[in-house]
């Protein structure tokens, strides 16, 4: 059951953490205890129509996608590309656009595509480029 009108804090305001926090700048994202209401915890990607699929076989960890992603949805740890945060990715396609490898390591597919099937039939290197 969702809360009634008298059961939540006023002001269309959400808390990122339950209780207080300190040294947040020195705590990596994975180690932060985000609240249920934090937009980090919640999925905000339900209107995505196309999605990026990541093929790590061609990735050179250049970090272009990580830098360009407008929604911080590229998961990179120790300068290694790990994958995509699909709870936050809106499917804008910028990561695939800026990916410099040949073939690309990130390609946009319809939302309902199967990742494994698409990776199995990944495009070959474009010899003309």
């Amino acid at each position: 059951m969702k809360k009634g009108w008298d059961e939540f804090e006023i002001g269309a305001m959400l808390r990122t953490f339950d209780g207080s926090i300190d040294n947040i700048a020195g705590t990596s994202q994975d180690d932060r205890s985000y609240s249920e209401n934090s937009s980090y915890t919640a999925s905000v990607a339900d209107w995505r129509l196309i999605k990026p699929i990541f093929n790590k076989d061609y990735c050179i960890d250049c970090q272009f996608c990580w830098i360009y992603c407008p929604d911080v949805s590229i998961i990179s740890r120790d300068k290694k590309m790990i994958g995509i945060d699909m709870d936050h990715c809106k499917g804008c396609g910028i990561c695939a656009e800026v990916c410099p490898t040949n073939p690309k390591s990130l390609i946009m597919f319809p939302e309902q595509s199967e990742d494994e099937a698409e990776i199995a039939s990944w495009p070959a290197k474009d010899e003309e480029k």
Partner: protein
């Protein structure tokens, strides 16, 4: 950074704008973001001069529009500061979108609204069109009838608005030019007494509290929006009236000046009454006294608190009288007047048999003269004597051309 205080005389000669600027100075506002517009300009002009003369420790933000002014106020209030601004008319109209943001976000901001007509035709003089534009915006709305009250209502507005049980922004209305530019005697509090009354700002859910990060201004769709709006309405209906009464009582103890949500003048034994706002209240009081000398038991009801509308107090004030005229200083443009509707809403389902008639007057700064009010009281007495309306329900006062009456 230290700032200087001002030693005020017991009695100062201030217009409504300067009185409001002095109140903002004494409240030690942290951020004023403003885009000056006639007739409210001298409020922010006065405030800016206080700042440049080192009487204020705070930020004055110059912005590119009234929409930006209120947006900056919202940001500053969400960050955790005491915030105020001023505007009028077209500026208020441009600000309307952000008014709803401020109240929905439950941010205490004090807005001095110096009432002025809305174009077209363009007009800088006083009427209540801009006041009416804020009616459903979710702000607490107070009305000052004089420079003294403009000063007092500002201090009261901060104290009500910032209370953690309330956390709703407040508008202080005053009539453009008639109050804002007319110098009168004003009894101010000392700087220390005024600040002690308003109190040190106590932040709540502020963005500058880095140990408790918050997101302000979130999106909610059909699953949450209604609950937020319901809560805001509930708090305006249930919590704000008693808080206003409490702050009015505190202010009376401090200043000796007693305010009420509904200001009754000679209403105890009145047969007929005029219900109005702003400077018209003072004119009506003078005429009511003169009418009593002529044998008409006249009274005046002035509305101090416009939102939350004091339904019970209005009904109580009017329950025993025979006829009341509700004055609307804004063109209803195809309806009964807004105040007429509010007063009718207060009286319906009560035992009162008071005859209710509505009058549109004073648009674009047209004077409401004493002669107008003498005629009005005579008309009300005729209604009372006849036991029914002797005119149509809606009329115009002081407009040239063939007589206008409707309904």
């Amino acid at each position: 950074m230290a700032f200087d205080k001002i030693e005020l005389r017991d009695l100062e000669v201030w217009d409504g704008n300067f009185a409001a600027a002095q109140a903002l100075r004494q409240a030690q506002v942290d951020v004023v973001a403003a885009y000056p517009i006639t007739p409210s300009t001298p409020i922010v002009e006065g405030y800016a001069k206080f700042k440049s003369d080192n009487y204020i420790e705070g930020e004055f933000v110059m912005v590119e529009s009234e929409h930006a002014a209120m947006s900056a106020c919202i940001g500053a209030a969400a960050a955790g500061g005491r915030v105020a601004t001023a505007t009028s008319s077209q500026g208020l109209a441009l600000m309307v979108e952000t008014l709803y943001q401020a109240s929905g976000m439950r941010l205490p901001i004090v807005l001095n609204l110096v009432n002025r007509a809305l174009a077209a035709p363009l007009n800088v003089n006083g009427d209540h069109s801009d006041m009416y534009l804020t009616r459903d915006s979710g702000w607490i709305q107070l009305d000052a009838f004089s420079p003294q009250e403009a000063y007092d209502m500002n201090l009261i507005a901060f104290k009500v608005s910032e209370d953690h049980d309330i956390r709703l922004p407040a508008i202080v209305n005053q009539d453009g030019f008639m109050t804002s530019h007319t110098a009168q005697g004003v009894y101010p509090l000392t700087d220390d007494a005024a600040f002690e009354f308003v109190g040190t700002y106590k932040p709540m859910n502020d963005m500058l509290d880095f140990e408790h990060p918050v997101t302000h201004g979130v999106q909610t769709e059909e699953d949450w929006h209604f609950e937020h709006k319901a809560r805001q309405h509930n708090d305006l209906m249930v919590k704000v009236p008693s808080k206003i009464d409490e702050v009015f009582a505190d202010f009376e103890k401090l200043s000796g000046r007693k305010y009420n949500p509904v200001e009754c003048y000679d209403m105890a034994d009145a047969d007929v009454a005029v219900f109005c706002l702003g400077t018209s209240v003072e004119t009506a009081r003078e005429v009511a006294t003169e009418m009593r000398a002529k044998g008409i038991k006249a009274g005046v009801v002035g509305l101090r608190v416009i939102r939350p509308f004091p339904f019970m107090e209005v009904a109580d004030a009017l329950k025993d009288i025979k006829a009341v005229a509700v004055l609307d200083r804004s063109s209803p443009n195809g309806a009964a007047g807004a105040m007429f509707n509010e007063v009718a809403g207060s009286l319906i389902n009560t035992d009162s048999k008071v005859l209710l008639s509505g009058y549109v007057y004073g648009l674009g700064g047209r004077d409401l003269t004493k002669a107008n009010l003498v005629d009005l009281y005579k008309e009300l007495q005729a209604n009372a004597d006849a036991g029914k309306l002797t005119t149509q329900q809606q009329q115009f006062i002081g407009v040239r051309g063939p007589k206008l009456s409707y309904l």
